[in-house]
Amino acid sequence: MKLDFSTLMTIIIGAIFINNFVLSRFLGICPFVGVSRSLESSFGMGMAVIFVMTLTGFVTYFVNLILVITRVEYLQMMCFIIVIAALVQFVEMFLQKFNPTLYSALGIYLPLITTNCAVLAVALLNVKEGYNLIEAVLFSFFAAAGFALALVIMAGIRERLEITDVPRTMQGVPITFIIAAILSLAFMGFSGMKF
């Protein structure tokens, strides 16, 4: 396993900024629209996603190894989704037992993560890009961090939006998407960065 600093740096910056999961790959839009109403809940969701996605990246790496060795790669999707569902359930039970404070803080956001397409996508992308274990875990962690970043920025803007006078037609979802478009334009400025 070789560790090249510039490759790792490219993966990290690429995952957070250049190919931000929400704003340029369009993954995890549902929680992005649904949970970004308040800063507090979006922060909780962000943390939960970082936790689960990093674990997913780690576990699915080994699951994929087993699939490749036994030559049943076509079961990849099914195995990954079951692993994610099991992992979310496990994390939920573990937190409930050993860290009730964090558990109650994350609350309903944990079970919702199973159907967050960003989590399955990170597992599939790790395989597609052929990352080794360290690259896969780093990519998963920073992709999730990018998701959390976009979510928290969005929540900050939407809290301001509460006290502004939005035209009635654009209230709710439409104005959220317009803001997302502008954020996405801003994040496009990162493309072309090289190390």
Partner: protein
């Protein structure tokens, strides 16, 4: 008559993309050309109809406590079939859609229909429900991708349709264009449905007099 209602509700009253804002990843990500949009819509429809039928058949055999994992496994199986079929029959489309074909598994529309409809209804209505929702989803994708392709590259289905003097605005086929198109489509839908409601309320007021 009620069958027709199951089929048609997805197009307006319970439109998944514009009304319920469900399964938003695909409508934003792959709608850069009409071809991709229709391809994605048809793939999703196939998974939706097949999983609705199968879950409806199994609805009495699945224990209530573990129904969500069971649904996901059924959906994952059909998504794998569609994934392999698209890869075999249309490699170009497969490359264009990329990771979003496997991601049909976590499309909220499919799990939503399984949970809300197929697990409680007979096979025939479930199939119609899946077909209606899937076709409505396909229509949505076609509309969004049509707008984006027309403004973003001045083409429709790969053929140039605007005068050569038109400068395509590239931003519409880049990520921000997806958000902008969707925002205005949802806003437009809100305006129309509010007008309809006002008219209906006015009619109701006149009726008793």
């Amino acid at each position: 008559m009620s069958n027709w209602k199951e089929f048609s509700k997805g197009f307006w009253a319970e439109n998944p993309t514009f009304r319920l804002v469900l399964g938003m990843c695909a409508p934003l990500a792959i709608t850069t050309s009409v071809k991709n949009g229709v391809g994605m819509g048809v793939s999703t429809t196939a998974v939706l109809v097949a999983s609705n039928i199968w879950i409806s058949i199994l609805r009495n055999a699945i224990p209530n406590q573990i129904r969500i994992p069971c649904f996901i496994v059924v959906i994952a199986a059909f998504t794998t079939i569609v994934d392999l079929s698209v890869h075999a029959f249309s490699p170009v489309l497969y490359d264009a859609l990329g990771i979003f074909i496997p991601l049909i598994v976590v499309n909220c529309i499919i799990l939503g229909r399984a949970e809300a409809f197929a697990s409680k209804n007979q096979i025939w209505p479930s199939a119609l429900d899946g077909l209606g929702m899937g076709l409505a989803f396909t229509v949505n994708l076609t509309i969004i991708s049509g707008i984006r392709e027309l403004i973003g590259s001045g083409q429709l289905l790969g053929r140039p349709v605007v005068p050569p003097a038109y400068q395509p605005s590239l931003v519409m086929i880049l990520p921000p264009g997806g958000f902008i198109t969707l925002a205005f489509l949802i806003a437009g839908m809100n305006v129309i449905s509010r007008r309809l409601e006002i008219r209906r309320a006015a009619e109701r007021k006149e009726a008793p007099q």
